[in-house]
Symmetry: D2
Subunit: 337 residues, 4 copies
């Protein structure tokens, strides 16, 4: 930690700060510049938030040297984390493709989607049972009945299953039906839910918040891992920016960066990121080229009648074409589909 | 609703869409332009999401005419909502000032803060018992013990009390101790919590999400009101932008705009918005001048040792000076303190 | 400057860096932490961009201690800069109000606007002669004829005048007709134009760029001042964010912050910031309460027929009401109108 | 155009608006809803800005149906524009790779860079002679001497050349030395420069502004094309967002979208977008996979001593490795290198 003092700080203020840093277990080094004094504080036995020091008299700003996350960092674990679900390996050489409808609407709809995505090569079936919707007047999901259908169709088509959970109650219910749980963008900093997911015993797909920095995203993963669950998959799904010609702005640099900073698998959701069916193919290819470990894609048997997210859902034919195009691309960057 | 069709849409696609709109209870008007066809759909018996239509073949985009929120709209209720807590009226001529520490740390700390803010003219005591923190390694709040202290100190100083809740469990506990509950920025779209708050029987302070539009903020309020609780106070606390010299960007235009769009009271949190003690005074004055119904300000007896948000907390002397400056300013815009 | 080295940096890399820092005139201090080495570099005889060092092998990041701007900083000049134009003082106790139409359209329109704003108490007449427009098919301004009208009407109504310049040619022409020149948001980093303005001999109103940080804004002012012109007025006019219910997001925290960081006057443009006539009043009051030294407001004799920016222009009656409301508010914060 | 009237608009206000629309050459269609009246206006003989109508009494908002750009639109020209420079075709099946140093520093540096990038397969040599720098104290480029070196080294290595221009003067000078000119992000809405580039007779690489929407970017291209120059290449180089772990946020969805909206070639600058050498490879691959027609990459013989943008510059070995990796990837999406 480096503490920059204000111009004209008193000797007493510096002594007070020095004492506090030492009391927190730091060794201190005083550097006297032409106008300012800077204190280098070495040691990280316990976390002191830079902000705590910034409120002390005479301090102008505090610069952090160490990264605030630990367990999820490549500095702690160099090799990639690989998460196994049955025969499936997430984070390995083979790309993971999660596909299915935004929301579970009926057995027919889900089964039809599942059979189609399976046929085209997807590994995991997605389907929302608890839907966080901006409007209280929109369809909110089939809840438990949706989970039941997901389990049944997953078993029938031999696909692993994933669904979004929105609070501790839905989490506790969902883990009885599905293979993986998803924490959505709006809940990325729902710390109660993160801790509960850390104790759920199921792999967790953690979506990046709409306006979360990469660091905050990794800190959210740290919540889950530090609660006891090492099986976390990060998912980039677009961030909110001024650009309004796409629903969100897909941040593929964050994918490449996250792969360097953490050992956890990173996948991409081009459907929510763009909100436009006609961009999903190009962004899926770009994601794989950027180093993503997989994709999560919305597929609906008939997008025109979908109860949610129709405009961004592929129909089975479009999904099949997408998967065909991904094979040579994956091969070009050393991945299998 | 206005549906813009793609260039070269077939007559069949138009007929299909027209049928769907009519089936949903709309009257339709076809407008043929030089290149495109546009369909005006009139009637709002039930909500159809524009996005649902955008997935239909031939549709380029759908423009919404009606606002998506209803109960919170000034079109439904012209007069200001005034919320009463004991003798206190939030949303009336008198400004509401909520003040106190970021987190309840101890009886001494809380009592000292409460006595100070009361002396300077605050109406409500704030104090966090459940703290959502970015790092799992930071102080997370005293929880129930914090609520107990808040109730005790509130009673002793005759101040109404408010605290943040983070899930249904903390909400159900908090309502037994405090006069108002707060839903934080990170939970603005925690729809489960919004619905629960709608049934809590206590006034709810709803902070705007870090990257929530004004419309989404009002939709979140609509969740609470449509669940049965009309006592919602909106709170602007800064949005996330590219600017990094302040913690967030305080959006006072949103305050003035919200006062026009909704009948609910709107207050401002200059402490979290700026993250800097030395900007809190100016932004408090600006908020009142912009038409805010009140302020929520962090005050700590000794910010230098605060367990959270020290850099933005005022000490009692600074808060007293702030309040003195607000009186003439309030008077200039027809408000009392 | 503080240089943070990567984990496992070689002794040779450290020696190379140390040598380069010393060659640039810095004294260096090596701090050895548990995992990393940090180098404190003291002295600021000549500017080395942190980025230049970040490209050296072994360097993880470089933290700047000194602010990158000098001449515009309060650290260099503590007292407020006051700019005099005839009897007018910009940056003093009296607020400066610049008002007039977005574009000069005709003598009648400009004279009518000028007489109205003068009657209500404005000090400076604005009127665009060179209009930067997003579309090549929009009205682009009367150019030299507009300047001529501005000079004539300014003289007739005894108002100082200001107009926007868009390149060196328009600057050289404008200075012959007006009292002050304005550099628009889109040209805030048009460094050629900044340097030319630094040699123009006229006060320069420098608008903040749509996505410029406060630091970049001050650096743009530094360009002008370091080219020889100390008479720079900063103007906050809204930044671009995700929020789309206002044209831009007015950043009043930046105004309060700029007043602390620089000695230059800071004014606010609520018209462009909000893009909505019905928000201009509230935001004008908020700006003055936040500490702004003045306002620039669009006023048109008949906004419904304005050739540009009609939706945000006040008519003379609205402007007069605004000015009346500002007087008591200004008094409450120690300013005169 | 669709005009939405306010609730309770008077018959007279509607008649006035209707008259104005008809006077502008529109046919109008009145749609009466339960609460509001909506007017559909058909015809596009001449451009009326929606904003002009929004200032009329009784109007709530105006929705545009037509896209505001024409000449650059795929609706006007379906087939891809291909720009020829000698044997080079930009926008065709073969990818264009522009490479070279941020700034021309010396003949040795430029020649060394040029020989390296040519050897690895680049088609165009870049080198800045006029450098827009945030600080007035940073290196600003060799100007004319830089252009001279660029022309000399381009001829010697048989590479086409490109350089940035910053105003009309530098443009007029540059066209005498180089094959293509570049308009930087900060000048994307320097409309004077755009018009001048439209008359320059050279292909223009137009970078997207830091906070420009895709629509504004295309409108800027429309300025150039409507001034007489059809040879415009769009370049995505990252937008400004809240994320600070990369210099900017590379918006590859905008690339895929632009390829659908316009017939102009679109290339990507991963160097400026990320600001980090270690992300340039992944983002180059992602750009090609997203459908970009080419790349512009910073390469310096010795990045550690570069006068600008060292941290994001590749050395010749890194660039060669990047090019090798791009070949199979290009092949997978039907492109050659």
């Amino acid at each position: 930690m480096v503490v920059v003092m204000k111009i004209n700080t008193s000797a007493e203020q510096i002594a007070t700060l020095d004492k506090r840093l030492k009391a927190s277990g730091y060794q201190t080094h005083l550097i006297r510049g032409a106008k300012r004094i800077v204190i280098g504080a070495v040691g990280d036995r316990r976390p002191v938030e830079p902000a705590e020091l910034e409120s002390m008299p005479g301090v102008e700003k505090v610069l952090r040297i160490m990264k605030p996350y630990k367990l999820v960092s490549r500095e702690v674990q160099e090799t990639d984390t690989i998460i196994k679900i049955g025969g499936l390996e997430i984070g390995g050489k083979k790309l993971t493709v999660i596909a299915g409808p935004c929301a579970v609407e009926s057995r027919e709809q889900l089964l039809s989607a599942a059979q189609a995505v399976r046929r085209s090569g997807a590994n995991v079936l997605r389907g929302g049972a608890y839907k966080p919707r901006t409007s209280p007047y929109s369809f909110q999901g089939l809840e438990k009945e949706g989970l039941r259908l997901l389990a049944e169709v997953g078993a029938q088509t031999e696909l692993a299953t994933i669904t979004e959970v929105v609070d501790e109650e839905s989490l506790l219910t969902a883990v009885r039906y599905v293979d993986m749980v998803q924490i959505g963008a709006r809940n990325m900093q729902n710390f109660r839910l993160l801790r509960a997911a850390g104790k759920s015993g199921k792999p967790v797909l953690l979506k990046r918040g709409l306006s979360a920095t990469v660091e905050e995203w990794l800190m959210a993963a740290e919540y889950i891992v530090s609660s006891g669950n090492r099986e976390v998959i990060l998912c980039e799904r677009g961030i909110r920016t001024f650009e309004d010609s796409t629903r969100n702005t897909l941040d593929l640099s964050a994918v490449a960066l996250a792969k360097q900073l953490t050992h956890l698998p990173v996948i991409v959701d081009p459907s929510h990121a763009t909100g436009k069916r006609e961009l999903v193919g190009a962004m899926s290819r770009a994601a794989v080229a950027a180093g993503a470990d997989g994709l999560i894609i919305e597929v609906h048997p008939d997008p025109a009648v979908a109860l949610c997210d129709g405009p961004q859902s592929l129909d089975p034919g479009e999904f099949d074409a997408l998967m065909s195009g991904l094979r040579p691309l994956g091969a070009a960057v050393g991945r299998e589909l």
